[in-house]
Subunit: 338 residues, 2 copies
């Protein structure tokens, strides 16, 4: 409701604020699903020399250790990576495995092969085919129709979904699964690990999503009147940012280059702007004059989601001997909201 003094610039929400809430939930859930008191162990393979990956690994280590997890960073060369992953797959003391990509910068197929090498039960990043297939088909469980083991969603797209929930863009008064119905969202980036899964997740929840990359614009929706069970994709020939930004309630930038900036003058007054690139895709001072909410980065949310996925993998394991019914129930209900 109206008042006389209202802020004249937008609300800036830092990743830290969103991450804190998620991490508290992770800690609670871990304590309810843990069998023994031993710390879960996340193994991370670093096989490239990307400084961004090194930085991200450092933050991950810090967050893990602060929240009751072991973080075991293993630097390996490209050639021994596959063997190292297989060994970790078979090692009972390893609860989750992640790999820093890209590894073979000129051979995406080889990176894809590595993603598939990680065991499904330790795939904390949700990049194995079964996890990806479930995500694209809007299937939430690994074991239908029992529906006790939840499918893993990739970390950065899920981090952005969690950010949008925190920002109340998901309307909780609508039915679960339709909570973005009526929202128009532009995602700038259509990579296989970030932009395309993100567009699919948002469309699966009812949004009209414009997915933009250098090749053009694709429209992801659940169809007219939201009747389809999962998203459909249509090419929008000849469309560009100039067509989609003025229509968008939410603009999500994830272009991994320093030079790219979302043209502020095309953004609709009061839009929500989120950057997930490690570069700044938005002109900060200008976007604060135009947006209603601005999230400059989501890296810390991604790390929180990584731990959330790890706890979910633990909850997904076959029922161990000697576990109480209460603990088994807690495992089935872990993070039931996604």
């Amino acid at each position: 409701m109206a008042s006389q003094e209202v802020p004249k610039t937008c609300k800036v929400i830092l990743a830290d604020t969103i991450a804190k809430k998620l991490l508290a939930e992770v800690t609670d859930t871990l304590s309810s699903v843990q069998i023994s008191g031993s710390k879960p162990t996340l193994v991370a393979f670093l096989a490239n020399d990307d400084p961004a990956a090194g930085q991200y690994a450092e933050w991950s280590k810090k967050t893990c250790e602060e929240h009751g997890f072991n973080f075991d960073l293993r630097k390996v060369d490209k050639e021994s990576l596959e063997e190292a992953i297989v060994a970790a797959n078979h090692d009972d003391s390893v609860d989750g495995i992640l790999v820093y990509y890209p590894i073979w910068t000129n051979n995406q197929q080889q990176d894809r092969y590595i993603q598939e090498t990680v065991a499904l039960s330790k795939d904390v990043e949700g990049l194995c085919h079964t996890h990806l297939f479930n995500m694209y088909h809007n299937i939430r469980f690994l074991d239908p129709p029992t529906n006790l083991k939840k499918s893993i969603l990739p970390c950065t797209p899920l981090a952005i979904v969690k950010a949008l929930e925190h920002l109340q863009i998901y309307n909780p008064i609508l039915a679960y699964g339709n909570r973005l119905f009526g929202k128009t969202i532009t995602v700038i980036n259509r990579s296989e690990v970030n932009g395309r899964p993100l567009a699919a997740l948002l469309a699966n929840d009812g949004a009209t999503v414009y997915s933009v990359d250098i090749t053009g614009v694709q429209l992801f929706t659940r169809g007219s009147g939201i009747r389809a069970p999962r998203h459909q994709v249509h090419d929008k020939e000849g469309w560009g940012l100039k067509d989609v930004l003025p229509l968008s309630d939410v603009v999500i930038g994830g272009v991994p280059t320093e030079g790219f900036k979302v043209p502020t003058e095309l953004i609709r007054d009061g839009a929500v702007c989120i950057n997930f690139s490690s570069y700044r895709n938005f002109d900060g001072p200008a976007v604060k004059e135009k947006a209603s909410i601005y999230v400059p980065s989501v890296g810390k949310v991604t790390i929180a989601v990584l731990l959330r996925n790890l706890v979910r993998l633990i909850a997904n394991r076959p029922r161990p001997e000697g576990i109480s019914d209460a603990a088994e129930k807690a495992r089935a209900e872990a993070f039931k909201d996604v």
Copy 2:
């Protein structure tokens, strides 16, 4: 987040659901601001023979009596109405006064004169000039800079604001006063008691509002980038429903004729649709296939807001003798969120 089974039609929210929440708050606040145990009295003057007014009076009486208020319906003829209002203004046993309009159907000025005859301190409908001026200028208090006595907002527009808050269209993560920033809303009706104040309230909270009546479209905003302290109005020459409905997140119908229907095919997929006419402005079955949320009527919310305004009038009175500091504090804080 995604699931496999999601509803294929929109969520219908009944006025009753919204009213119940408001009435609970009214009862609580009344008990904290009341000086003696005596029931507050609302006097309603019926000087026309409109069956809709008679029906509304009956509902109001029932709601009043269920929630600890007296409802005193006084049927008077047009000629003695002014005198009857003046007498009620001076009667200490009367806490609030409302009048059913229209009275002189062919002389709006005379109705307007009657609105001004009701004492400001008993104007439960917020139709006195001081209340209207404050609303249009986005001023919330009657006693700046002390700011203890809140200005009264007209019942139907405030009922719709309360409905939009319930539906989470007001985003609580944004600063108070900017919580509609980024939303586009069409209001079909620009009467002086309903549509125009509603458009102003919504624009004062940051929305882009298209106000539509048979004379055309006006745009109500707080200006580009939400920098103005209150709404500005611009004529949109040549515009009509065909231009504004496809842009609108929320469509509010208030056309008081049986024949009018909002053209469903122009409504954006996933829009929120609210009817405040006593006729059905939306084609129910069709709109349920297109909207995300549909509110078929708001009459019961309006009655709840009427009682809310009455309690606020009681809280606004000069500090009585013998009142405790706690009760005085409760009076200052009554309904602090609007």
